[in-house]
């Protein structure tokens, strides 16, 4: 049974389609990336998953039930924009939100204290939230979302506003959660985090799904690049087989220049390099650039824009 299933889900606000015909599923215990640029429909989808807003089309099944609101106690949610009661202490906040999820006060207090201490917030436990730094407050809110040990964790842009060290800490936490059997879904428009964490991703653009698959499959959608450096002639480079385009990246002293060669789909970088050497091109350095998720993201969203324009 999938932890989350969406089938033909749509959300319309008047004439505006925030989400159209969205179908995907998330396997239990996996880390799932829900990616897309701002305004792609990620937050609307997550709100529908949480039952905060009803879909105008389709079906959503959360933890085996289409009655989403009956599963709230088993879901942990961190919204995109965060805040807590300014006068509450971190421990009181954790106990309060745990209580709303059905955890008894004494259990929540014990668990909350341990989690806060584990996140380096032991000294801040009794201080009001307003006295905490933004990073500390974000950690407290994350603990509030996790203290009831949810089966499904939904994090909306969890990395925004975090410094690199805290981002690393959050990545470790997400891996731990999945390791303990929780399903983690997070939305982001920062691809590096998703690339490091996710097994599967769904990429959204303008309310539509433009990709659904593994990170490796997404990367494959972007072209591989071969970077060559030397006293090269752009026209002789363009004549090489298996290239989609040639771009000059920058110049060097002594007539040497850097060229980025985008390979045509299916072309082998080894074949291109072999052809260049056979033609005796003056190459001083070369390297192959494997596409990142960021490259794939740009290609896939642009391709979607192209389809939309047609």
């Amino acid at each position: 049974m999938a932890a989350l299933e969406l089938e033909g889900v749509g959300k319309r606000y008047g004439e505006f389609h925030a989400v159209r015909d969205l179908t995907f599923s998330v396997e239990p215990g996996s880390i799932f990336g829900f990616l897309g640029p701002n305004g792609a429909g990620k937050t609307s989808t997550l709100r529908m998953v949480l039952g905060l807003i009803p879909p105008t089309a389709g079906r959503i099944c959360v933890l085996g039930s289409s009655q989403v609101r009956t599963r709230l106690d088993r879901i942990g949610f961190l919204p995109e924009e965060r805040g807590l009661y300014r006068l509450m202490t971190p421990l009181d906040a954790v106990v309060y939100f745990a209580g709303l999820k059905g955890v008894g006060a004494s259990v929540a207090r014990k668990r909350g204290r341990a989690m806060l201490e584990a996140q380096g917030l032991g000294e801040a436990i009794g201080r009001p939230m307003k006295a905490l730094s933004k990073g500390m407050a974000q950690k407290v809110q994350l603990i509030c979302a996790l203290v009831h040990e949810p089966e499904l964790v939904i994090l909306d842009e969890p990395f925004s506003g975090l410094d690199p060290v805290n981002q690393q800490g959050l990545e470790a936490l997400i891996r731990d959660l999945a390791g303990q059997g929780s399903t983690v879904i997070f939305s982001t428009h920062v691809m590096a985090n998703a690339e490091r964490l996710c097994e599967r991703i769904v990429l959204m653009a303008k309310g539509r799904k433009v990709f659904d698959g593994t990170v490796a499959e997404a990367r494959a959608a972007a072209p591989t690049r071969l970077v060559l450096e030397g006293a090269l002639d752009p026209s002789s480079l363009s004549a090489l087989p298996g290239l989609a385009s040639v771009e000059r990246d920058g110049g060097h002293a002594g007539g040497s220049a850097l060229y980025s060669l985008q390979l045509a789909p299916g072309a082998s970088p080894q074949a291109v390099l072999k052809a260049a050497l056979q033609r005796d091109l003056d190459i001083s350095q070369f390297r192959m650039e494997t596409p990142t998720l960021h490259d794939a993201f740009i290609v896939l969203t642009k391709a979607h824009d192209g389809h939309e324009a047609h």
Binding site: I75, P79, E80, Y85, A145
Partner: protein, 434 residues
């Protein structure tokens, strides 16, 4: 299963209400509100008397060009425990003036507040002209808003004219004096009074009804304000979204309304205790009378019902508005008309106390936003039961509809972004996405 779900729902309601209640119990505003009521009530009770005693007695001159000899009658009319004015000799130029216009010209400098050197400072002057049978009074005063002195002079002059006519008709001056002094001893009775004759104890239910209407006004005014600020805080800090992912709208809205009602109820209970302690000290005999008055016509029970419905109606409206706003300034655009709506029945409260069966009051007490205030004020007069029950049913139906619409708007507002306007609020109430 259903029982477990209901228990979980009740638990969330309790948690939200408790947090709301405790968060305000810790603020200085709560303790200030607790003290400000008795302080204002005490001040309101003694201030008018103190102000009356502390105000200087105005100085009045009478220039009688009519030859009526009304000055002693006017002087007698001014006397009292706190004289309306003290009679002083007019300036010579005014006293010897040949016409009212000349007298007025002569008086004006003395009425300016900075009299000529050596002259009296006057606050008012009455220039009597014409004939004893048809006196014309030109009343000059520095205080254009105080009618009391003018009316006293008018009354005394009228009496002098009547006496002059009676004397001209040949009546004995002693007889005239006796007739003028004749006044009945009036005693107040009412079939609604327990012993026939009206006493403070008989007026107590009406006064308590009026007091309860004011208490309701305070509870709505304060409670709704707290609720609005609380929702705005949660909206601006995005806590509402997290709360809605843990609790349903009825649980969240209900918990918040209950928690703030607890704050208002605590303040009112504090006032009641302080009030009872004050009565116990100043008039211990009145305590059983207050208890009896609260039970007159089931006053306390009806009050509780109207209070709950009125509070629910207004609180849910305020919460819905708060859910659309991230600052109080945004909310103010819609708060003005609602505040007017709450204040309007308060303006009719004293009329409702004096004339509880007046057609206007009866009609207004049927309009649901006004019902909790005006029906509470009317209750002590024993209005027909069908009117009370009918207004209660109408109020309950309206409150149910308003709470239901506001719950929808609350959900839409909690997840909305952008500025609040009436169109979005109504759209939210009708279930259209905001």
């Amino acid at each position: 299963m259903i029982r477990a779900t209901a228990a979980a729902s009740l638990n969330r309601l309790r948690l939200i209400a408790t947090r709301e209640f405790l968060s305000y119990l810790r603020t200085p505003g709560f303790w200030l509100s607790l003290l400000i009521g008795p302080i204002l009530a005490g001040f309101g009770a003694i201030a008018p008397g103190m102000m009356h005693q502390a105000a200087p007695t105005p100085l009045l001159s009478v220039i009688d060009l009519s030859g009526t000899g009304a000055t002693p009658t006017i002087a007698a009319a001014l006397r009292g425990q706190k004289p309306l004015a003290r009679l002083v000799q007019p300036p010579m130029a005014a006293a010897t003036a040949a016409s009212p216009a000349a007298a007025a010209r002569a008086l004006r400098p003395y009425l300016s507040g900075e009299p000529p050197a050596g002259g009296p400072r006057l606050d008012a002057a009455a220039i009597l002209s014409g004939t004893p049978q048809a006196i014309v009074v030109d009343f000059w005063s520095r205080d254009i808003n105080d009618p009391d002195l003018r009316l006293a002079v008018r009354g005394a002059t009228a009496q002098a004219m009547q006496q002059a006519r009676l004397r001209a008709a040949g009546l004995d001056p002693n007889l005239i004096a006796q007739v003028s002094a004749a006044a009945p001893q009036v005693q107040s009775y009412s079939p609604r009074a327990a012993g026939g004759q009206v006493s403070l104890k008989d007026r107590l239910p009406s006064l308590l009804g009026l007091g309860m209407a004011f208490v309701l006004f305070f509870a709505i005014f304060t409670g709704a304000g707290i609720l609005l600020n609380s929702v705005i805080e949660e909206k601006s800090s995005r806590i509402l979204e997290v709360l809605l992912s843990s609790a349903t709208v009825p649980e969240l809205l209900g918990g918040k309304i209950l928690g703030v009602a607890g704050v208002a109820a605590s303040i009112i209970a504090g006032w009641a205790v302080m009030g009872l302690l004050a009565i116990n000290r100043l008039a211990p005999d009145m305590i059983p009378a207050v208890g009896a008055a609260l039970m007159t016509h089931g006053l306390v029970i009806w009050f509780a019902l109207f209070f709950v419905l009125g509070y629910l109606m207004y609180a849910s409206v305020f919460a819905a508005i708060g859910a659309f706003c991230e600052t109080v300034r945004e909310a103010q655009t819609l708060l003005g008309p609602i505040m007017l709506l709450i204040t309007l029945p308060v303006m009719f409260l004293s009329l409702a106390l004096e004339h509880p069966d007046a057609p206007l009051i009866v009609a207004l007490s049927w309009i649901p936003p006004f019902t909790p205030f005006l029906m509470t004020a009317r209750l002590a007069s024993g209005p027909p039961l069908w009117q009370v029950l009918g207004a209660l049913v109408l109020m309950a139906a309206t409150t149910t509809a308003v709470v239901s619409l506001c719950a929808r708007a609350f959900r839409a507002g909690a997840l909305s972004t952008g500025r609040l306007d009436l169109k979005r609020l109504i759209g939210g109430m009708l279930g259209r996405a905001a």
